[in-house]
Subunit: 78 residues, 2 copies
C-alpha cells in the first residue's frame, strides 16, 4: 500500500469535480453533456456529485464527447 | 463525435493490455496482483482479456497497488 491511499468516495468525488470542470470550461450544461454523450442527465448529475462508481466504457464515452483522452478524466492533479 | 471513436470492446481490450503490461514490468503474476489488490484473480484475468467493464474504484485500487496515478492506467498511447 502507498501513503496516498484515498477512500472510495474521495475518488468518486475527484472524478465528479474533474468532469464538471471539463464540462464548464466548454460552457456546457449537464443537459447539453447528456445530449452529446447519450447518457442520462440524472446519471451525470450523480457522477458529478461523486455518488456513482462510473465504469470504463462510460468514462471513455465522456472523454470522446469532451474531446480529451480518457486518461485526462482521471488526472485529478489540476 | 470525434474521428477517434473506438468500439466498447476496444477500450476494454486496451485497458486489459495496459494493466497486463504494468503488471509484467513489475514481474508480478496475476495471482500476485490479486493478492496485493484484494481483487479476485479470475476477475483480473477477465479484465486483462478485455472482457470486463471495470469501474472507477477498482481502476483506482489497481493504480494504488501498482504505484501509478489512476490516469496512467487509462493512458493507452504507449
Amino acid at each position: 500500500m502507498t501513503n496516498t491511499t484515498e477512500t472510495s468516495s474521495e475518488y468518486q468525488r475527484a472524478f465528479g469535480q474533474k468532469l464538471a470542470r471539463l464540462r464548464k470550461v466548454r460552457g456546457w450544461s449537464q443537459e447539453q453533456l447528456a445530449l452529446e454523450s447519450g447518457l442520462a442527465r440524472s446519471y451525470l448529475g450523480g457522477v458529478e456529485r461523486g455518488q456513482r462508481n462510473i465504469a470504463l466504457l462510460n468514462i471513455c464515452r465522456l472523454a470522446e464527447t469532451l474531446g480529451v483522452p480518457p486518461s485526462e478524466l482521471l488526472n485529478f492533479t489540476d
